[in-house]
């Protein structure tokens, strides 16, 4: 059965790696729902967060293909239940509508929107939340002259208390030539984060 999976990939900061990772999906005609790439907490290491809708078997195979690429340190995959995830959405609305219609302001408050920029002609709100929430506000604002909307890719953090930081630091301090125990963890996902 297809489910939503979040794939987390740690890579070197190298030109061309984004392409190497992306073509693993496109070659298999798999759509990437969202993709975020940014520097991690360790200098020189980047973190990809990739959202796809696929079966677990396919996702496991994709992760092995990703890990195989030179420049990739590690690829993990998780179900939504295993992660805390958020997206950031920005909404541009005419300022006059908010001023005139008090209930619009109430609506915005109800959706946890906060003001980023306030101008005479328009106001920009932001909402941090999950897809349904940010989608909902688009729907709500549409009749009031929503000028522009943009949403970031998903970013996610692991629920397990240990997380990746420790593991990443190990990469950083690893002496050349020493064996790294990895790969095997793909087979026992559940235990990955207890390590």
């Amino acid at each position: 059965m297809k489910k939503e999976f979040t794939i987390t990939v740690y890579t070197e900061n190298q030109i061309g790696l984004l392409n190497r990772v992306a073509i693993i999906f496109s070659r298999r005609k798999i759509n990437i729902d969202s993709l975020n790439v940014s520097p991690s907490e360790i200098e020189g290491i980047h973190r990809f967060t990739i959202l796809i809708n696929e079966t677990e078997e396919v996702v496991r195979k994709l992760c092995r293909q990703i890990e195989k690429q030179i420049g990739v340190l590690k690829a993990y995959f998780n179900l939504d239940s295993e992660i805390i995830w958020q997206e950031l959405a920005l909404y541009k609305v005419p300022t006059e509508v908010i001023q005139e219609k008090a209930y619009v302001e109430r609506l915005l408050r109800e959706h946890g929107a906060s003001v980023v920029v306030l101008r005479k002609d328009y106001t920009v709100f932001e909402v941090v939340g999950q897809r349904q929430e940010t989608d909902k506000l688009v729907e709500v604002l549409q009749p009031y002259g929503l000028i522009e909307f943009v949403r970031s890719a998903r970013i996610a953090i692991i629920k397990d208390s240990k997380g990746f930081n420790q593991k990443l630091r190990e990469f950083e301090y690893r002496e050349p030539g020493e064996e790294v125990i990895e790969n095997e963890y793909l087979n026992q996902q559940k235990e990955v984060f207890t390590y």
Binding site: E12, I15, G16
Partner: protein
């Protein structure tokens, strides 16, 4: 008093030379032990060729007639010699001509380092003359690729390239060097080989509990069966395989790229698996209770329909590439690691055994195959020559010591099925990609990789015409390749499928040929064409004895088919021995 430390510094500074990026390329290759390069010059790689001019006595350069020929030659060289093949090509069309070879080397795990010239760095992205986005074109077909825009990166990139190409599961690497980097002069402190990259793990850690588990399963097996592939050859694990097979008494079959890793006349070698493999190993795949796959990747040409593959077996898969485990066939025990390391560990734990009743089943199948297929092909009742009898006599004359390089098609299947092979690295063929045109250039490279052996290129009348320009390379550099054209006047393999699966609607498969002997003569290559059985042995002997390259064209039956066959979409045990069984 000058301190010891400063003396060291003095020594170091003495080694620093101010040289061009191009010269660093050549020095780096020499430091890696490269002694032959297959290449073709052009504008964007001219500085490297200029540097090469001064190193001709140390680094032999074979000027091919087309870059595709160059990369196939490097592949043949690598596969015959176990060294990394090196290719030079210029930017744009030179680089794009490498793509087929890169894809071929990628899927067949062949270690290559390709160096392409690129336009000046400041012209990148401007659609400059002969600029193509080589990195992005080649990303899916390289194990690693990298663009160098500064001379200071060259030595490191080449070191990394050789390390990546040759370790773990080998593969092709492409390094694209902009012209300014080639021309730039820098202080060169000497070449440092690479032996570690933190984000690249050539060999997965061996899990001993899996070895133990695998041994347990093997020890209990009633009908165990081994299928080995090129992983055994790439890991130099042939002896370990032989020991394992001998100790356990398990019948062993091979994939097309595993050919020769266990001598073909070893009593436990039960033949080739796959679409045109032998009858027994295909049929009995579905009877075995344990399948031990060693260094192979369950290609669809091997497995046929997956849900009808190894239906009664628990699967033990030994492979160095974790991405291969469970990719196509779900394993019971994944034995990650280089089989040169895992096989000896496994051998220690398995008990000495024999499986004579089970082995006899394979022999019984062989008898049936001999009766229905092999005998009629080897000893036809009419005058028309068959491909099989040509290979059979070749075996007789070479005694299995030649390197057989084949192209793609019926002749390839016949060559692989019938060639007698005493050792590995003697059967070079395009397995995964099935690249027509591979044979001739790969044979040229193989001759450089195995100069003391006879190299026989078995090629169809279609494939030879795809890269026939490499006759020019043979002419100029004298590679003593024996070119054996098996001419059936058809694109035989496609014709076979049209006959069997498209109601004999022969759509554009009758291909005409030039007078090959005359063409060869034009290139200074001696040759002969025959069509009579009486001429066969004597002409093959002449070909082998001839001092230098030789072309022998054998006119064979036009509409012979390769059998047995596992028709596409069927299970391996649905293998048929003749057309009327389909």
């Amino acid at each position: 008093m000058v301190s010891e430390e400063l003396k060291e510094v003095k020594k170091d500074t003495a080694l620093i030379e101010n040289i061009s990026g191009s010269e660093i390329v050549i020095r780096s290759l020499l430091a890696e032990g490269t002694n032959v390069v297959f290449g073709y010059p052009g504008g964007a790689i001219m500085p490297i060729y200029d540097a090469l001019y001064d190193y001709q006595d140390q680094l032999e350069h074979i000027l091919v007639r087309h870059e595709q020929g160059g990369i196939h030659a490097a592949q043949g060289f690598a596969r015959a010699s176990s060294k990394t093949g090196v290719v030079f090509a210029t930017s744009g069309p030179g680089a794009t001509n490498l793509v087929t070879g890169l894809a071929d080397a990628m899927i067949d795990s062949t270690p290559l380092v390709c160096i392409t010239g690129q336009v000046f760095a400041h012209l990148l992205g401007t659609d400059a003359f002969q600029e193509t986005d080589v990195l992005n074109i080649t990303t899916p077909v390289t194990k690693w690729n990298y663009q160098v825009t500064d001379a200071s990166e060259i030595a490191d990139a080449i070191a990394k390239g050789f390390y990546i190409a040759s370790t773990g599961r080998p593969g092709p690497v492409l390094i694209d060097i902009t012209k300014n980097a080639q021309l730039q002069k820098i202080d060169f402190e000497g070449y440092q080989p690479c032996n570690h990259i933190r984000s690249y793990k050539p060999k997965p850690t061996i899990r001993h509990e899996y070895i133990t588990k695998a041994a347990e399963i093997i020890n209990q097996a009633k009908k165990p069966f081994i299928v080995f592939g090129q992983g055994v050859v790439l890991g130099n694990a042939e002896k370990h395989l032989e020991h394992f097979v001998n100790k356990t008494g398990i019948p062993a079959a091979w994939t097309i790229l595993g050919a020769g890793a266990l001598a073909t006349d070893h009593p436990l070698n039960v033949g080739m698996v796959g679409m045109h493999g032998n009858y027994g190993p295909n049929l009995l795949t579905n009877e075995c209770d344990v399948l031990i796959a060693i260094g192979m990747r369950f290609d669809d040409r091997v497995t046929g329909r997956l849900d009808k593959y190894a239906t009664n077996a628990r699967i033990i898969h030994l492979d160095i590439d974790p991405a291969e485990i469970d990719k196509n066939v779900q394993t019971t025990v994944p034995v990650w690691g280089d089989c040169a390391e895992t096989l000896p560990l496994l051998s220690r734990l398995v008990k000495e055994n024999s499986h004579n009743d089970w082995l006899k089943r394979f022999y019984d199948c062989t008898k049936q195959e001999i009766e229905k297929v092999i005998k009629p092909e080897m000893h036809p009742e009419n005058d028309v020559l068959t491909m099989a009898e040509v290979i059979n006599i070749l075996n007789e004359l070479t005694n299995g010591d030649a390197v057989i390089v084949s192209d793609v098609g019926q002749h390839q299947m016949v060559a692989c099925r019938y060639a007698k092979l005493n050792t590995s690295r003697c059967n070079i063929t395009s397995g995964g990609l099935g690249t027509m045109g591979f044979g001739l250039p790969a044979a040229i490279g193989a001759k450089y990789g195995a100069p003391d052996k006879h190299v026989v290129a078995v090629i169809g009348d279609g494939g030879i015409q795809m890269t026939i320009q490499e006759f020019g390379t043979i002419m100029q550099f004298g590679a003593a390749v024996k070119i054996l054209i098996l001419n059936n006047q058809f694109l035989g393999m496609v014709r076979q499928w049209q006959q069997l699966f498209h109601d004999k609607r022969y759509s554009f498969v009758n291909i005409t040929s030039p007078d090959y002997v005359t063409v060869a003569k034009g290139y200074g290559i001696e040759g002969r064409s025959i069509s009579q059985r009486e001429q066969l042995k004597e002409s093959l002997q002449t070909m082998l004895n001839h001092d230098g390259a030789y072309l022998l064209e054998v006119m064979v039956g036009k509409e012979n088919n390769v059998f047995p066959m596992v028709p596409q979409g069927r299970g391996v045990s649905e293998i048929v021995l003749a057309a009327n069984e389909i």
